[in-house]
């Protein structure tokens, strides 16, 4: 091959390689679910509304359990687990628990820690410890290990309800004219003063079909684990 042809081929190959690398980085490495910024009320208070569903029919992994976060402006449920709060804010959290119960691997995580008063409210009742084994009352947890927060999510408490969970996500309180079983958890915690990203995760082995229950959705950001961004 003559010199210009060789140089031309080299150039094309080089551009292809660079283009390929940029594509891989942009599409696979840097892409991720959106970050929901919590709306700030006076007194550095924010309100965070989430729900956890037994499946995610809006994604290409319909059988995976997942959290959703409500966008504070549009009030729509977004399939993400990334949210942002200001540093030192008082965070009031409401979580709708649509998923059924799963026994925890370590019943220790049935105890509420890290919230204001070390309690949470499930359907209005004050709760400080849930017995995830005897009562099969825990569906998931909302835990931020970096600030010692661990809040078990209550699940529907009867067998009938556990067999009649919501079927389309994001779940709504009514489906086909019938009420959908769910529990409502509310609690408050203080966001840390040091900015940064703090992981949060579920501690219940709800990754069905994965050994020890911690695979799949439990290790995929956007489903059962995510980040709390604390801004300055």
């Amino acid at each position: 091959m003559s010199l210009p042809v060789r140089v031309g081929t080299l150039l094309v190959a080089f551009l292809a390689v660079v283009g390929g690398a940029i594509f891989v980085v942009a599409h696979f490495f840097l892409a991720g679910p959106p970050v929901i910024t919590a709306a700030v009320a006076p007194g550095n208070q924010v309100h965070l509304v989430m729900q956890e569903d037994p499946q995610t029919t809006v994604t290409n992994r319909p059988d995976w359990v997942s959290y959703f976060i409500q966008d504070p402006t549009t009030k729509k449920w977004v399939h993400t687990t990334l949210f942002k709060v200001p540093a030192g804010a008082t965070v009031h959290v409401t979580i709708y628990g649509y998923d059924g119960c799963t026994p925890p691997r370590n019943p220790f995580f049935g105890q509420v820690t890290g919230t204001v008063g070390d309690v949470e409210f499930i359907d209005g009742k004050k709760v400080s410890t849930l017995n995830g084994w005897y009562n099969c009352s825990i569906g998931h947890t909302f835990s931020i290990p970096g600030i010692g927060l661990n809040v078990p999510m209550g699940s529907p408490t009867t067998v009938a309800e556990n067999n009649d969970l919501c079927t389309v996500s994001p779940c709504t309180p009514m489906e086909d004219g019938k009420p959908v079983p769910h529990a409502t958890m509310t609690f408050t915690f203080k966001a840390p003063t040091t900015p940064g990203s703090y992981l949060w995760q579920c501690r219940i082995p709800c990754g069905g079909g994965y050994i020890t229950g911690f695979g799949g959705p439990m290790q995929t950001i956007g489903y059962m684990t995510g980040d709390m961004e604390v801004g300055s």
Binding site: V25, F28, R61, D227
Partner: protein
């Protein structure tokens, strides 16, 4: 056996395949057909997997999406490889033999770029294929390493999410450890071993070519893990985490197992070639030290490779059909994988180190103009490392809860292996004594090998000390140690080999000025990157983490910036390589380094059958400074001499 028994087999194109018409290039087996075969194969395998697991809901662990069931993906890969190889023409000769037809000679073309994209029986073509392939694999994995260092610039601000980071770490490590196993044996071993021992061919040319064509498949399957969500357990694949992972893990285990098959074949081929295909007069005391190094490597590849393939296969059955080898809660043991993996893994790292020893000891005599000091000691060192490498693997498991009595035992064997390793240093130092050192680019890399391996080897002694290993294990200290031995050792030797042998292999000289820039930037960048990591590890930073203590940020930033310099130096090498071989193509003389090696007696590049007549070897390759030393071989022995030498083979073999 080096004397050709079937002269027509690897002849130059014309005679053997002369009768049958040669088909158009796009209808013959080759890369295009292989890609088509791979795509068709994947589709078949995927469909078959879905068919088999149809009634089993527990197999559908991916949440019901079409790409998330393990069995179709594994079977898809399997049929992909079969289709890839079929398209490449690997099975054609086998089919012909079974049908009683003549084996075709159409693979032995001597000219043209197209033969590099085919399944070829010429070991020199395979060597060049390996060279280009290895450079591509190395650079891809190197880019991933730069991504890792970019993430570690800050302990709190994250460039990538944690999931992506752990994916990148696993891809980088696996790509390097898996593919760089053959980085010297593949290109330089396959190309040069027959030339160095005076043979016209390798023992098993089809196995050799097969071992190459498995590597692009393994590389692409491993890369495809990124499409499947990656794998989150690093290159060591510890169970039960690897059983728990989503479908990206199947790509890892399949690719690694496939590469395991490739290294078994490559090693076995070199082993038999060296033992059986030496020219008359090529006694064991005369074979080049590079060949000794590859001999040890080949033994380890052939013996350790099967363990890897077996372990990967067992994990794949754990993941697909739910056997319980490694799942503790189902009756298996997480220790089983650790032991299987490291029983392969430790010889693997010596597979990575030994070819480097071979290369540097090959070059020192040439650039010091002196015989190799202590030839037998060097060979003993290589044999010692090869044997001992199978007895040290539990030093990776010191803190894992193994029987405490085992810890002093493996401490002993691991400390002992540093004795034969030390022989290599004495040989180097002795060869430098009163030498006339020429600091050419290959020599610079060879000397840098010694410097880097000194640090790597000594820190290996630190790791072998079980009490000190309590802090060092799983930290950046171990990371720095193995990068010093593998990158500072093997890759520097690879670069030395490139600059030294490219004139022989391609008839083209690489630009020496750019080479010196490449060397200094690489040497300084490499040491600046990895030397501080010993401190980072001792100061408490574990491996594979995206968050670290804030007071370690300065060190980490220094390392990251240095790694960009190191990456730039590799870019310089790639530019030099590509520019010199594709654009400039400056012809090299037949023996630019004035070496006594047998491979330099041929033209550059050598003819298709290496030697028109089997040479008779007259002396060793390191007889510099010896008065009246005969040339290393006689390429055109008179007929009577050859006959006499042939009848002497049995006596020579008895002596050696």
């Amino acid at each position: 056996m080096a004397i050709e028994t079937e002269p027509g087999r690897t002849g130059t194109g014309g005679e053997a395949g002369g009768a049958a018409p040669v088909r158009a290039w796009w209808m013959r087996p080759g890369l295009i057909a292989a890609i088509i075969g791979a795509v068709i194969g994947y589709a078949i395998g995927h469909w078959l997997g879905n068919l088999i697991t149809h009634g089993y809901p527990q197999a559908a662990t991916g949440g019901g999406s079409p790409d998330s069931n393990d069995t179709p993906i594994v079977l898809g890969y399997l049929f992909l490889v079969i289709g890839w190889l079929a398209g490449m023409g690997v099975f054609n000769d086998l089919g012909r033999l079974m049908a009683g037809r003549r084996v075709s000679g159409e693979y032995a073309e001597s000219r043209g770029l197209a033969r590099y994209f085919r399944f070829t029986l010429d070991h020199k073509v395979v060597g060049i294929q390996y060279l280009v392939g290895m450079i591509i694999y190395f650079c891809t994995a190197g880019l991933l390493a730069m991504a890792i260092r970019t993430e570690l610039l800050s302990p709190v601000h994250h460039v990538f999410s944690s999931a992506v980071y752990v994916e990148i770490v696993g891809e980088h490590g696996t790509m390097m450890m898996m593919l760089m196993t053959s980085v010297i044996l593949g290109p330089f071993g396959n190309y040069l071993v027959p030339l160095m021992i005076g043979s016209k061919r390798v023992a098993f040319p089809r196995l050799e070519a097969l071992s190459f064509w498995l590597t692009p498949a393994a590389f692409l399957i491993l890369l495809s893990a990124l499409l499947l969500g990656g794998f989150n357990f690093g290159w060591t694949g510890y169970a039960p985490l690897s059983i728990q992972d989503t479908v990206g893990a199947d790509a890892y285990f399949f690719a690694f197992g496939l590469m395991g098959i490739s290294i078994i074949l490559a090693g076995f081929n070199i082993l038999v070639t060296v033992i059986c295909y030496r020219a008359p007069g090529m006694r064991w005391s005369r074979i080049p030290m590079f060949v000794w190094g590859l001999l040890g490597t080949a033994v380890m590849m052939t013996l350790a490779g099967p363990i890897l393939v077996g372990g990967c296969y067992m994990t794949l059955t754990d993941r697909t059909v739910q056997t319980a080898f490694f799942s503790d809660q189902l009756g298996g043991s997480s220790y089983l994988w650790q032991n299987l993996f490291w029983f392969f893994g430790h010889p693997e790292v010596y597979i990575l180190a030994l070819p480097g020893f071979g290369i540097v000891m090959e070059m020192l005599p040439v650039f010091t103009r002196k015989p190799l000091f202590g030839y037998r000691m060097a060979a003993a060192g290589i044999i010692g490392v090869t044997l001992l490498s199978f007895f040290v693997w539990q030093h990776h498991l010191f803190d894992s809860g193994i029987n405490p009595d085992m810890r002093p035992l493996f401490m002993l064997t691991t400390e002992l292996i540093s004795i034969p390793t030390g022989f290599i240093f004495l040989v180097g130092m002795g060869t430098l004594w009163k030498a006339k050192i020429r600091l050419t680019v290959p020599m610079l890399f060879a000397l840098a090998f010694y410097f880097n391996f000194l640090i790597g080897g000594v820190t290996g002694v630190y790791n072998s000390d079980a009490p000190a290993d309590v802090t060092e294990h799983g930290s950046f200290f171990v990371m720095a140690h193995f990068h010093y031995t593998i990158m500072g050792g093997l890759i520097f030797a690879f670069m030395a080999g490139c600059y030294y042998w490219l004139p022989k292999m391609m008839g083209i000289k690489l630009n020496q000025t750019l080479g010196k820039w490449h060397f200094w930037l690489m040497f300084l960048g490499f040491n600046s990157t990895f030397l501080p990591l010993f401190a980072v590890g001792l100061l408490g930073q574990p491996r594979r983490v995206f968050e670290y203590a804030r007071h370690l940020q300065t060190l980490n930033d220094w390392v990251s910036i240095s790694s960009y310099v190191l990456g730039f130096s590799i870019l310089l090498f790639v530019i030099n390589f590509v520019w010199s071989t594709v654009v400039v193509r400056e012809r090299a003389t037949a023996n630019p380094w004035n070496s006594r090696g047998l491979e330099w007696l041929t033209s550059s590049p050598p003819p298709v059958d290496n030697f028109s007549r089997v040479p008779v070897v007259l002396s060793g390759p390191y007889e510099y400074g010896v008065k009246d030393a005969p040339p290393v071989a006689d390429l055109n022995p008179p007929v009577g001499v050859l006959a006499a030498a042939v009848s002497d083979i049995d006596t020579a073999r008895a002596e050696a």
